[in-house]
């Protein structure tokens, strides 16, 4: 059972890679978007995790909630947001958003299943 601070520290140690969360508004080629550039973590799924809707080349991306707040992004991250990571040239679609919470229910990070 981890407290919010302990969980936050654990995720902070993991979050060493640049990750951008992009939120579009409206439609069309000129649809405005807002980027929140944060430190996060992206990794491929292990072979044993490739079940149900998890496909090869999907990425697990972790971002901290306090970083999203500092960047001015309204929470929560949703499936309509896009993710940009260094190892992929295109924006990734968010398929699943899992809030990671401490034992007292405080949401500390988002774990995202991304595809693209």
């Amino acid at each position: 059972m981890m407290t919010a601070d302990e969980l936050r520290r654990m995720y902070r140690d993991l979050a060493t890679q640049p990750v951008t969360v992009r939120r579009y508004t409206g439609k069309g080629v000129a649809a405005p978007f807002f980027d929140a550039a944060v430190k996060g973590r992206s990794a491929a799924y292990a072979p044993a995790e490739l079940v149900n809707n998890v496909l090869q080349r999907d990425l697990r991306v972790i971002v901290l909630i306090e970083d999203m707040i500092d960047q001015g992004m309204t929470l929560p991250i949703t499936e309509s947001d896009k993710i940009i990571v260094a190892e992929r040239t295109n924006e990734l679609a968010v398929l699943l958003v899992i809030p990671r919470k401490s034992s007292d229910g405080t949401a500390v990070a988002y774990e995202l299943q991304c595809r693209g």
């Binding site: 978007f33 909630i65 001015g72």
Partner: protein, 149 residues
């Protein structure tokens, strides 16, 4: 200052533009607890800001007026510091406001004229409101950004 850099004063899609027949706040951010608030905050020490209002016009509509407001009393009252008007054409307007502009004659906050600013008034929280006349269609959208420094 706290949190210099780019801040989102609001991205407004077509339906929200058309729904703003009365002055409507379009700014949304999260506070430290993750709760949504209708302003951007934590801008203590800001000396100046450049604001961009980018209106992408699809079709239709008559006018969209954007008002930029700041609060000096933690949100109790809001002072309009800029008003930017758009019509039926795509347009980007940018302004710069400075907190070092002296205001030695008291100013009573009120509604500004179109495309005018009230310089020298900077609080720690900011928001944008819009008011729309007519019905826009197509991919009409509005994007508001502040670069705080």
């Amino acid at each position: 200052m706290d949190n210099p850099g780019i801040h989102n004063l609001g991205d407004v899609a077509l339906s929200a533009i058309n729904a703003a027949t009365a002055a409507t706040v379009v700014t949304s951010a999260s506070d430290a607890q993750g709760t949504t608030q209708a302003f951007i905050a934590d801008l203590d020490g800001m000396l100046a800001c450049s604001i961009s209002a980018n209106f992408n016009w699809g079709a239709g509509g008559t006018s969209v007026k954007v008002t930029i407001e700041t609060s000096l009393d933690q949100g109790t009252t809001w002072t309009e510091v800029a008003r930017i008007a758009f019509g039926a054409a795509s347009e980007q307007n940018v302004i710069n406001l400075s907190g070092l502009t002296p205001k030695t004659t008291p100013v009573t906050p009120g509604t500004l004229s179109d495309d005018t600013c009230l310089d020298g008034i900077m609080g720690d929280r900011w928001r944008a409101r819009i008011i729309t006349v007519g019905t826009y269609t197509g991919n009409t959208s509005l994007s508001l950004r502040m670069h705080a420094r």
